[in-house]
């Protein structure tokens, strides 16, 4: 992965403007930025996730997180975590979904929790914790949400999870 952010496809105007804004302000933290109509995906370094989130919230008016998704990549030995964010306050951007993605190591999956910045991530981070085993540091209540209390297998959404029923 290169140091300078690169842009895929020919981007639409409005999205490009926002992407440029992000690129200028977070130049050092961004690995890659992907633009599609109404969708922007910003890949950042894992250590600068809090900085990026703060920038999103304060400068771009991103006020809520739709979901926290975790994707397991056993071949790269990494887990990608994607925060899909959006805004209600900013009427013009209501159709825009900005994804904030970063990859962490599969063996020691640790990342700071974003619950302080976006309280709406609480349950999503808990779900990612139990489904992929990602530990969100600073989360107020990092416990099991959906899985049974006596779950003793590895997190089920990891690709090497062997389904006992299949």
């Amino acid at each position: 992965m290169s140091e300078t952010p690169k842009i895929k496809h020919e981007p639409p105007k409005r999205e490009k403007k926002i992407a440029d804004n992000i690129t200028v302000k977070l130049r050092k933290d961004i690995l890659e930025i992907e633009i599609k109509p109404k969708r922007i995906k910003v890949k950042v370094k894992p250590e600068s996730i809090k900085k990026a989130a703060n920038f999103f919230k304060n400068k771009l008016n991103i006020d809520h997180v739709a979901s926290v998704s975790g994707i397991d990549y056993p071949n790269d030995n990494e887990i990608e975590i994607v925060y899909h964010t959006g805004t209600y306050k900013h009427k013009d951007l209501s159709d825009l979904v900005i994804a904030l993605a970063f990859r962490i190591s599969r063996e020691t999956p640790k990342t700071p929790s974003l619950t302080e910045i976006w309280p709406s991530t609480e349950f999503d981070e808990r779900e990612t914790y139990e489904m992929l085993g990602v530990i969100f540091e600073g989360h107020p209540k990092l416990e099991k949400l959906f899985l049974p209390e006596d779950w003793d297998d590895i997190p089920p959404l990891r690709k090497d999870f062997k389904n006992p029923r299949r």
Partner: protein, 177 residues
């Protein structure tokens, strides 16, 4: 033999005599009462509860057979309808609820998921059918079953009860003798 549990000085062996002489008509009456008064427990385990709502609604109206809409406390209930998937977190709760119900009690497995796991047969968190933890009386296929199917299941259950014998000893659980 005369002992305190079966007879006493006032009634002698009257209980036993009554029990033997009145067995056949009594059985008919008791079974008739049970047939038309099946109260279900209010337990929703998954999405089939939508169709349960339709069954207790006006078009299918299960109250025609004396079955109330879902009933609050399981202490007064007779039927446990497993409305859909039972997963590993729900399974101990379902078992507890079944244990708390008074005898005689019946179980209807409503929908493919509660019969065999259904659409989720290969899920890591779903039981392969509720009969792994409970004795099931009636199985209903469908995902979700149509409301008419529950009416059919109800009539099947009624026929089952009608043919059953009354056994007074069956309900004694924790006795020494």
């Amino acid at each position: 033999m005369v002992n305190g549990a079966t007879s006493n000085v006032f009634t002698g062996k009257l209980n036993q005599i009554l029990e033997y002489s009145a067995k056949a008509p009594l059985r008919y009456i008791i079974n008739w009462g049970r047939i038309y008064s099946l109260w279900p427990v209010h337990l929703e385990t998954a999405c089939c509860s939508v169709e349960w709502g339709a069954v207790s609604g006006p078009r299918f109206d299960v109250e025609r057979w004396g079955m109330l809409g879902a009933f609050g406390a399981m202490r007064q209930c007779d039927v446990l309808i497993i409305l859909g998937t039972v997963n590993r977190k729900m399974a101990p709760r379902v078992k507890t609820i079944y244990d708390q119900m008074p005898e005689p009690r019946y179980v209807i497995a409503f929908g493919a998921c509660s019969v065999s796991g259904g659409l989720y047969f290969d899920s890591y968190n779903v039981l392969p059918g509720v009969d792994t933890i409970l004795p099931v009386d009636i199985y209903m296929s469908g995902c979700p079953p149509r409301p008419e199917q529950l009416l059919q299941a109800l009539i099947m259950l009624q026929n089952k009860i009608r043919a059953s014998k009354i056994r007074s000893k069956k309900y004694v659980r924790n006795t020494e003798n």
